[in-house]
């Protein structure tokens, strides 16, 4: 018991020194996952399922949520065991954890979301090889507490899902002129009303639904993000220059 006491005291000391507020601690994680370090936008990870399954919003949402679940589970488990695993077996252990989580989720989907399971098909087991997941385990969860890891998994998964859904929206609207088609396979038959015809009498632009359309769509999303980033950077630069201009006045 003296051991825990010692631990407590050190914690207290550190916490009395600088205790960052909850928001201060968790906001950067959210920002990282959603924008700055987004799995797709910044790290270009997990593109294979992203490009293959994003042809409709519902498919995208399905895979996105599945991936998010895996991310949360794997992040939490990795965070829990982070102090036990030795560096040399770190990766195999992570892979085992992720693979188990994915297989479990696949089985669950097979049982309860059968149609969605049929549509997503091979891409569910492929979540195992989605580098975004192992990257987070390695880069974040293995160094952070359970709570933070859970939040990081949630945010990373959310970021991934959002991009997936954005791409799915683009492709579905341009390719088929609808939105949320096949909503029933995810939400059940009662939700069929969700399907929206954006353009009526639309012949469809096949390219958007076919794989090349996914690449082009992703390229446009990335271009949009880069545009925003550059804009922000320029703004910051201008701010800096203005600050500099003010400085000499202060000095003199």
């Amino acid at each position: 018991m003296p051991k825990t006491e010692a631990l407590n005291t050190t914690e207290e000391i550190s916490s009395t020194e600088v205790k960052p507020s909850f928001i201060e601690e968790y906001a950067p994680i959210a920002k990282d996952g959603l924008w700055d370090n987004n799995a797709v936008f910044a790290q270009m990870l997990g593109l294979c399922p992203l490009l293959a399954v994003s042809n409709t919003v519902i498919n995208a949402l399905g895979l996105g949520i599945a991936t998010m679940m895996v991310l949360i589970i794997s992040n939490m488990s990795v965070s829990l065991i982070r102090n036990i695993v030795r560096p040399e077996i770190r990766l195999p252990v992570f892979v085992v954890i992720i693979a188990s989580a994915v297989t479990a989720i696949e089985l669950v989907m097979h049982a309860w979301f059968h149609e969605l399971y049929l549509v997503l098909g091979i891409f569910i087991p492929l979540i195992v090889t989605n580098c975004a997941i192992i990257a987070r385990a390695e880069a974040f969860a293995s160094k952070n507490t359970l709570g933070k890891s859970f939040f990081d998994g949630l945010m990373m998964g959310l970021g991934f899902t959002l991009v997936l859904v954005a791409l799915g929206t683009m492709r579905e609207v341009i390719g088929m002129g609808t939105l949320f088609s096949n909503a029933h396979i995810m939400f059940g038959n009662g939700m069929q009303w969700l399907t929206i015809e954006v353009f009526s009498d639309y012949d469809g632009f096949l390219l958007a639904i076919l794989p090349p359309g996914a690449f082009i769509g992703l390229a446009f999303l990335l271009a949009g993000r880069n545009y925003i980033k550059i804009k922000q950077k320029n703004k910051k630069k201008r701010q800096k220059q203005q600050d500099l201009k003010l400085e000499p006045g202060i000095i003199s």
Binding site: L206, L207, L210
Partner: protein, 358 residues
């Protein structure tokens, strides 16, 4: 300040602009023949394509903050437009051309960095995208060739009627699109071969696919492009490597397979003088930006396109194959360039033998 400028000081003999213009000019015989065979639709297509191309080019150049005048003058967009105009179905609706040129100029060319930086042939990117996105439009709007129309008392459209149809989708009373159009010879052969519904001889007997050399109607267009291409080769605007190896490979393969299965394989002549073979061999595959640059690389590049054309025409999902073949080989061009570098003067001869001695 003294500004060093390096030799040579002699006036350059050629400019990009001149090159593009001459190539475009040499397409005129082929274009005229195509207009004669397929009606005014081809002309309308080309004019629409040129307008769209220049507009898109100007807009993207403006957005990219590049000197618009300089790049519009290089006439590469013009050449792309004319190629697309000829390649599209003659009765293609205007929006097909519009979408095609958007992908050619904006996506395939300018987004890659503009002239000289595009990895893929813009015209073929446009064609491929249209073909996979709008397969119905791309395969149906082929006006019956003049020869067939006169033979079977088919209908033709005047220039005004063509414009009216292409821009506003209005046909003169009593005409249907089905009566105006017919499948292209390549399509007929492909369908027959696939279905096993008719042998080559039966198609011959029907007389709606085979002309004297290749596909009825298209053979004349091909001959005209061949003439333009040969002239271009003579003038030194393109090297012989790509077209010759392309045509040789295509001819050889069709001969080879034709000798096994005479019933379902058309003759080499049919392959060479149907579809867009000659246009592809002389005007599309030779696009300098996207082709291989070393002598041996160019031979392999041409041969690859030839082989792919045959493979896709015979076993693929689409009747003509120039676009896919060219795009696939475009991808290989950098690799070919890397592995076929000529032996540099004074370097060990064991790597490669001196091939470009002339």
């Amino acid at each position: 300040m003294f500004l060093a400028q390096s030799s040579p000081f002699l006036k350059p003999e050629l400019s990009v602009s001149k090159m593009m213009l001459v190539v475009t000019m040499l397409m005129i015989p082929g274009v005229l023949t195509a207009i004669y065979v397929f009606g005014y639709g081809v002309l309308v297509n080309i004019i629409l394509a040129i307008i769209f191309a220049l507009t898109f080019e100007a807009i993207t150049l403006y957005l990219r903050r590049r000197p618009i005048a300089v790049y519009l003058k290089d006439k590469s967009a013009l050449l792309t437009a004319v190629i697309i105009g000829v390649a599209l179905p003659p009765l293609a609706p205007w929006w097909l051309t519009f979408v095609g040129l958007f992908f050619a100029i904006v996506i395939a060319k300018q987004l890659y960095g503009g002239l000289g930086y595009n990895t893929f042939n813009p015209a073929m990117v446009a064609y491929a995208i249209l073909l996979i996105s709008f397969p119905a439009e791309m395969t149906t709007y082929w006006q019956t060739p003049a020869m067939l129309a006169s033979q079977f008392e088919g209908q033709t459209l005047s220039l005004l009627e063509t414009i009216n149809f292409q821009l506003f989708a209005q046909l003169p009373a009593g005409m249907t699109i089905d009566a105006l159009t017919s499948a292209t010879p390549l399509d007929i052969v492909r369908t027959a071969v696939l279905n096993g519904s008719a042998t080559i001889d039966e198609i011959h007997a029907e007389g709606n696919a085979f002309g004297m050399l290749g596909g009825i109607g298209t053979e004349w267009v091909n001959l005209a492009f061949l003439a333009g291409g040969l002239f271009m080769m003579r003038k030194g605007l393109i090297s012989w490597h790509i077209p010759i190896s392309l045509l040789a490979t295509l001819g050889f393969l069709s001969l080879l397979f034709g000798s096994f299965e005479l019933d379902s394989n058309p003759s080499p002549l049919f392959h060479l003088f149907s579809g867009a073979t000659m246009l592809g061999a002389f005007f599309i595959a030779t696009d300098p930006v996207t082709a291989s640059t070393t002598p041996r690389g160019r031979v392999i590049y041409g041969a690859g396109i030839g082989a792919l054309i045959y493979i896709i025409r015979t076993w693929g999902g689409y009747p003509d194959a120039i676009a896919f073949a060219v795009l696939l080989m475009n991808m290989c061009a950098p690799l070919l360039d890397y592995y076929t570098q000529p032996r540099v003067y004074g370097h060990k001869a064991d790597e490669r033998d001196d091939e470009e001695a002339s």
